[in-house]
């Protein structure tokens, strides 16, 4: 009825308008336009007010400021005195034309807590400048560039295209597994000679296992910057509600180490928690929502192997993949402890806030998440220890070995760098127990230097000390240019299982087909 009335009204109006003079028509149009403008303005004002109210209602409280001042004042004063005496000696030296060397550097988080990846390079350049200044060398070194908090895919894309276009930075940071890719493309220079030359400066001190992570085809391509472990965090408060004693809770990591607590035991505990109403269905075990390094860990926990050490080819052991997919199927579809929609969630909007709120029993995370929770998600240090414990990924079956995965970050020097040795010196000076401990503590990453293990800044951090043992159980992802496609396929298939689209058999068939068609003879498929 309303519509018909309006239609009539409209027809009559047009009729009238035609009958009447054109000036009347233009007048009514300007009147309409004015009204529209007024309506739009009113809507804008209302919109701004509503928007402000929503903002006011949902803004979380600002996190407390981080503590500052790790370096004792006496250290600075001593340096200052030395400096002044040296400067007095060199004041007479004749000045020469000053030179400025600019070293571009790109580093990546994405978590803002890892900003020392960039800052340490800048501080290293400052140290170098200090030496020049004191010695009267008329040169300065400046580190230019940025610390990126974009996602890894965006960062890599930008970096690779810049390197291919010849406009890449001199120094850059990326994950160790990219060495294969970077070296194959000839974008980076091998660093063996420099490492040998400056061995006594810093490199004797690097934890020896880390060198393997940056070696490809027998050469060293990067300098390790940090490392981590990927533990499973468990919520102590929820376990207590489930009837566990403090002793049982604190002994869980040891039970995992002894191989007495398996991945299936973890499923049973989570299932029990759901049944007893301690947690909501689907909140038993959570994992990352997107593609990433963590996906092969469960396969490794079932005893899987990813790379053939002799040929360097990738391996897909289908019996182990079946066990892995069965575990995910059991967890998500049968026992309902993994949320079926978990891969539709967002890291910062959904995942971290829910875990910090204490709603999830087991979280397959990484050591740096503790740093993120404390710095950016309003979790206090005390509350962290009260709420969370952490353990290795349990073995898949009784008698297996617990496992975790490390993905060290490394600095690389690009082929287009004009001053590779200056760049290397900056990295060398940044590879310093104090500077690296500042990074490790702030971002909850693990040490790369033996001397950090006794560094006062590093050892004060209870978390790093407690998580340190995990490195011994850590495996690396295979260094192979096609690993990215393999890993993407794992994620896509598990996502299909969890959402109920693929059964275990279908998942296995699809996975095999995808690997065969996309990787060809780069992958050895074992049945």
């Amino acid at each position: 009825m309303f519509l018909i009335w309006h239609f009539k009204h409209y027809g009559e109006r047009i009729y009238k308008v035609i009958r009447q003079r054109i000036d009347r028509q233009t007048m009514s149009q300007t009147g309409a336009a004015r009204k529209t403008t007024a309506l739009l303005l009113a809507a804008l004002v209302v919109g701004v007010v509503v928007g402000y109210l929503i903002h006011w209602a949902i803004t979380p409280a600002a996190p407390a400021a981080p503590p500052e001042g790790y370096v004792p004042r006496s250290e600075y004063e001593r340096l200052q005195r030395e400096l002044e005496s040296l400067r007095a000696q060199l004041a007479a030296a004749a000045p020469a034309a000053p030179v400025e060397i600019v070293i571009t550097a790109w580093t990546q988080g994405p978590e803002s807590e890892s900003m020392h990846r960039q800052k340490n390079l800048e501080m290293a350049a400052e140290r170098l400048n200090q030496l020049f200044k004191v010695a009267g060398v008329p040169a300065t070194v400046r580190v230019e560039g940025e610390f990126s908090t974009a996602g890894w895919t965006d960062y890599r894309k930008k970096l690779y295209l810049a390197l291919e276009g010849g406009t890449g930075p001199c120094i850059f940071l990326t994950a160790h597994i990219d060495s294969a890719f970077l070296a194959e493309n000839g974008w980076i220079i091998p660093l063996d000679d420099y490492v040998k030359k400056y061995w006594d400066w810093a490199y004797y001190d690097i934890i020896s296992g880390l060198w393997d992570s940056v070696k490809y085809k027998g050469r060293i391509w990067g300098i390790p910057q940090d490392t981590e472990a990927r533990p499973i965090y468990y919520n102590k408060l929820l376990l207590k509600k489930l009837g566990w004693t403090d002793e049982q809770i604190n002994d869980l990591p040891n039970k995992v180490l002894r191989g007495e607590f398996t991945l299936y035991d973890m499923l049973s505990v989570a299932e029990e928690a759901v049944k007893k109403g301690v947690i909501e269905p689907g909140y038993g075990i959570w994992h990352r929502p997107n593609a990433g390094p963590d996906w092969p860990i469960v396969y490794l926990a079932f005893g899987g192997q990813l790379q053939d050490p002799t040929t360097g080819k990738l391996i897909a052991d289908m019996r182990i993949w079946r066990k892995t997919f069965e575990w995910f199927y059991e967890a998500s579809r049968v026992r309902k402890v993994i949320l079926e929609k978990i891969t539709a969630l967002d890291w910062n909007r959904d995942i971290h806030p829910t875990i910090v709120a204490g709603k999830v029993l087991f979280w397959m995370g990484g050591t740096w998440h503790k740093g993120q929770w404390v710095s950016s998600f309003g979790l206090s240090e005390e509350k962290f220890w009260e709420m969370f414990g952490f353990m290795l990924y349990p073995a898949g079956e009784k008698g297996g070995r617990p496992v975790t995965l490390s993905q060290p970050m490394a600095y690389f020097i690009s082929k287009t760098c004009k001053y590779p040795e200056v760049a290397f010196l900056i990295i060398t000076l940044a590879t310093d127990p104090h500077l690296n401990s500042l990074h490790a503590v702030k971002s909850a990453h693990l040490a790369i230097l033996y001397s950090q293990l006794s560094n006062s800044v590093y050892t004060q951090d209870k978390f790093l000390a407690a998580a340190g043992y995990m490195v011994e159980y850590a495996k690396y992802q295979p260094m192979h240019p096609k690993w990215g496609e393999y890993s993407t396929a794992i994620f896509e298939v598990i996502r299909g299982i969890e959402t109920g689209q693929l059964t275990v058999d279908a998942a296995l068939a699809t996975f095999r087909d995808t690997l065969k068609t996309r990787l060809g003879d780069e992958v050895i498929i074992r049945e």
Partner: protein, 303 residues
């Protein structure tokens, strides 16, 4: 004398057309040819042009994912197209049948999603339709005592139709409403005098008179939807589940730039794009014939 006039006329036309032809060649033909060439190579993270013939097309046929991608593309294009056209038509009819000021306001308000930066729009929609309890709609439902609905998880296609449709339908609404306004009022008045109902007027007068506009919009929108993926990328990114909303062009983007560790596979991605290019060409011809769009272009017999 006569010949030279003919010639000069043709020359003038040629000069007038040159800029358009140059632009078309430079920015349409050259990239298209390059894409076809890339699809015949193994161009990947090594940035080397290794010719491999039709290998990538064979891979496209063998790949178990291709079937899912074709299915997703079909659903996405037809669904969004239907939403855009029908909702645009609805908006156009409503906004031309109410008071002028209100009608203009309606159309202006519906332009908002279009002028909003796409990232902001996508974030907003993801928050509104979040499958968790913290989402806007779900917190409303819970505050009213209801059960939360896993919006983007269970109703991913309707969600994508809405996200895309709110942007596409504003264009349709503008085209259709200006078309409706250009209908000579005599027809409508005459129909009213004869006692036609509003519905009959819409069906018998308005729709037939704007059918060219609808045909144009459908043809244009189909082709642009085939190549549009940014809102899927920004919201569901091909999920939830195993390639459920991964349309062909998004798959091409993912293969080229979006895999874990950026395992860039430009050759295979280009094969997807060529596949789309062919479909686009075929569809253009089909639309041209079915909608008889040629009649739109020929000079009127009577002025």
């Amino acid at each position: 004398m006569r010949v030279s006039r003919e010639l000069s006329k043709k020359l003038v036309i040629a000069v007038m057309l040159t800029p358009a032809v140059v632009v078309a060649l430079l920015f349409l033909a050259v990239p298209a040819v390059l894409t076809v060439l890339i699809s015949l190579t193994e161009l990947d993270y090594r940035f080397k042009w290794i010719w491999c013939g039709l290998d990538k097309y064979a891979l496209l046929l063998r790949d178990p994912v291709t079937r899912l991608i074709v299915q997703a593309t079909l659903i996405y294009v037809t669904g969004t197209l239907a939403f855009n056209t029908l909702w645009g038509l609805c908006l156009a009819l409503l906004s031309t049948h109410v008071h002028d000021a209100l009608g203009t306001f309606m159309r202006a308000a519906w332009l908002l999603p279009r002028v909003l930066p796409s990232v902001v729009w996508a974030m907003l929609m993801m928050w509104i339709f979040s499958p968790l309890e913290t989402g806007f709609l779900n917190s409303l439902i819970i505050s009213m005592g209801g059960q939360p609905v896993p919006w983007t998880f269970s109703y991913y296609w309707p969600f994508l139709f809405i996200v895309n449709g709110c942007i596409g339908s504003s264009l349709a609404a503008i085209i259709f409403s200006s078309a409706i306004k250009s209908i000579p009022p005599d027809y409508i008045i005459a129909a009213k005098v004869d006692g036609a109902s509003s519905f009959t007027i819409v069906r018998r007068i308005i729709l037939p008179m704007i059918k060219w506009h609808i045909a144009f919009f459908v043809a244009y929108n189909t082709l642009s939807l085939l190549a549009s993926f940014e809102y899927i990328l920004l919201t569901l990114n091909g999920g939830p589940g195993y390639y459920t909303t991964e349309v062909a062009i998004l798959r091409a983007y993912h293969l080229a730039f979006g895999q874990y560790m950026v395992a860039m596979d430009f050759g295979y991605a280009a094969a997807h794009v060529v596949f789309l290019l062919v479909i686009g060409l075929v569809l253009s011809i089909v639309y041209w014939r079915v909608f008889r769009l040629r009649r739109l272009m020929i000079e009127p017999k009577l002025e």
